[in-house]
């Protein structure tokens, strides 16, 4: 990689790594080791395609899309490592931040991986249905369906008043 481009890449990676990692932690429902692995893989892929990534209108969104696809590809290959989330109570108890975090992650872990990816893109990345569809290679209709299903499940798992646990 040419030096200037290598520097650009390094700067971009340093700036985005933290956010990608946090996204990955949500995608993996709190599996921080897998999250690190996914971010490394994502940064690796971005490195290979840097000349293209750097020309994208929004390299950060490109990176996020790459992460999400890396995550789904990983899940496709390794179904058996899906986290067990049997410990989740059916309704969430009022709790501190720490247990909100745990509860929310456990609830995410109970969603099918594609539904989880939709939730993370829609509500963490604040992407539109269309953008989410494009990132995941789904149709918009499929994103909406998954979203509705995931929200229903999360409501059931977290309770309608999830907001009570969120810091003001």
């Amino acid at each position: 990689m040419r030096q200037v481009r290598a520097d650009e890449y390094a700067e971009f990676a340093a700036a985005r790594a933290g956010h990608l990692y946090r996204s990955a932690c949500l995608l993996t429902a709190g599996d921080t080791h897998l999250a690190e692995d996914l971010v490394q893989e994502t940064l690796g892929r971005l490195y290979v395609r840097w000349s293209r990534v750097s020309r994208a209108d929004n390299p950060a969104a490109y990176a996020q899309t790459t992460l999400t696809r890396t995550f789904l590809a990983h899940k496709r290959l390794r179904r058996s490592t899906e986290r067990s989330t049997d410990v989740l109570p059916e309704t969430a108890a009022a709790a501190s931040d720490a247990s909100l975090r745990l509860t929310l992650l456990q609830a995410l872990g109970r969603l099918p991986v594609k539904d989880r990816a939709v939730v993370v893109l829609r509500y963490w990345e604040d992407r539109s249905v269309q953008e989410t569809a494009a990132a995941l290679n789904f149709s918009s209709a499929a994103v909406r369906t998954r979203c509705v299903r995931a929200l229903a499940r999360l409501r059931q798992l977290l309770g309608e008043d999830i907001g009570e646990y969120v810091r003001p």
Partner: protein, 431 residues
């Protein structure tokens, strides 16, 4: 880019969604890690990936991440016209595999209309019933990648067929990857072949599935063509009337690999590609566009360094960075490939662990002998990896087969480790 699009209608309106979003932000924000380590590991992985990719540009075998194929697939978003446009745009932006034309169309190329796209597709398909024609011209927001889709029934059942056009930089990594078969590990498929046409164009024909997990067995076949001047034509078909959410209507999509190849390589498409307005951003990128490669052309250099008595039976193109030869000493074909890189000092630790040797001038040498990586039955891969103190690296690998993915044709590669070592350490690579 999708992120810049107006997304008002999608904003959460339900209080639960708003709360969920806040909760996610609070929760996500609590995670942190050693970012510097993450970045360093990511770059190291990138460098390895790059090397590995170069190493598999042979005989249609490939290591490609899912995004590559994903990037090649500009598809309508499930039927609706609006969805189609948005989905195509999002992919072009998000994955970038498809070059976009300019948002301020230059006057030169005429542009391509939706009707041209549809009628060209109709004309080029074999006899059959056509319905549900949709298309997009270069004049339509938000995407400038022209495409057409329709339902084609040759009498054996309705099938969705789409075509999309674009440009890639000739000779670029993007051009190469567009027609590189994906690794089955990443994208399961029944068959994938890359062939070079008489005019120098390369066609990949891929026969796989709409859903990689095969929850529904909708077959998804596609052909990607890249011409020597960078015209890119992509044709896809399914054995259902829609790509998703439609019942399987026939055992297989209507066009077989030969039919797909005929359709994708029709001259009509290339004329239309030439009418796509040119994106000034894609044209002015001079220095950043040309893939930089160090040193001498690899294939010809390798050829001059080979020991006597080896017959060259196949060869790669002759460029800097990577090349290969398939040689035969009379005992069977043996693939020999070389990667030449610069600026690799940072990876010395990862690449040259214990058991590696350091020469008096500081050059590191590592030898690996193991099974091939591409699943060819009984294939072994011998590698000599060398790294000079200035970061210049030459890696030579030899196989006991003409390709990595075919079964072994001989017991050992046609070169000895000593011969490979001498080749890798030759100063000729840097002439």
């Amino acid at each position: 880019m999708p992120h810049d699009q107006y997304n008002g209608p999608d904003l959460p309106s339900d209080p639960f969604e708003t709360r969920l979003s806040s909760a996610l932000h609070d929760t996500g924000g609590l995670f942190d890690t050693d970012r510097a380590a993450l970045v360093a590991a990511g770059a190291a992985r990138g460098r390895r990936l790059k090397l590995r990719r170069r190493a598999v540009v042979l005989g249609g075998a490939a290591t490609v991440v899912a995004a590559v194929l994903g990037g090649a697939l500009v598809l309508p978003g499930g039927g609706s016209g609006a969805g189609a446009g948005q989905s195509g745009s999002g992919q072009a932006g998000a994955v970038g595999a498809r070059p976009k034309a300019s948002p301020t169309p230059s006057p030169a190329p005429a542009g391509v209309t939706k009707q041209q796209m549809i009628s060209t597709l109709e004309k080029l398909l074999p006899k059959g019933r056509l319905s549900e024609q949709q298309g997009r011209g270069t004049d339509e927001e938000p995407s400038y990648a022209p495409m057409a889709s329709l339902v084609f029934d040759d009498g054996k059942g309705p099938a969705a067929v789409t075509v999309a056009l674009g440009r890639v930089q000739p000779g670029s990594e993007e051009a190469r990857q567009t027609v590189l078969c994906p690794d089955k590990v990443y994208i399961p498929h029944d068959d994938c072949r890359t062939t070079r046409l008489a005019d120098g164009s390369v066609v990949m024909v891929f026969q796989g599935y709409e859903y990689p997990d095969r929850r529904v067995d909708t077959k998804h076949w596609l052909a990607e063509l890249v011409t020597p001047t960078g015209q890119h034509v992509s044709v896809m078909e399914w054995n259902a009337a829609q790509e998703k959410d439609a019942p399987i209507s026939r055992p297989e999509p209507p066009l077989d690999p030969a039919g797909l190849t005929r359709l994708v390589s029709a001259q009509e498409w290339r004329a239309l590609v030439d009418d796509i307005p040119i994106d000034p951003n894609q044209q002015t990128g001079g220095p950043t566009r040309a893939p930089e490669q160090p040193g001498a052309p690899v294939r010809s250099t390798l050829q001059t360094l080979l020991p006597k008595g080896l017959n060259v039976v196949d060869r790669s193109s002759n460029e800097a960075g990577f090349g290969y030869l398939v040689v035969d000493d009379g005992k069977g074909a043996s693939l020999v490939q070389v990667n030449v890189q610069t600026g690799m000092s940072k990876d010395a630790g990862a690449l040259f662990g214990s058991g590696s040797e350091t020469l008096p001038d500081g050059t590191r040498v590592a030898v690996h002998q193991g099974p091939g990586e591409k699943g060819g039955e009984g294939v072994v891969m011998w590698t000599v990896d060398t790294l000079r103190t200035d970061g210049r690296r030459v890696v030579i690998s030899a196989f006991n087969s003409g390709t990595q993915h075919d079964a072994a044709t001989r017991e050992t590669p046609a070169l000895t480790i000593a011969q490979m070592r001498a080749i890798a350490l030759s100063p000729q690579w840097w002439k």
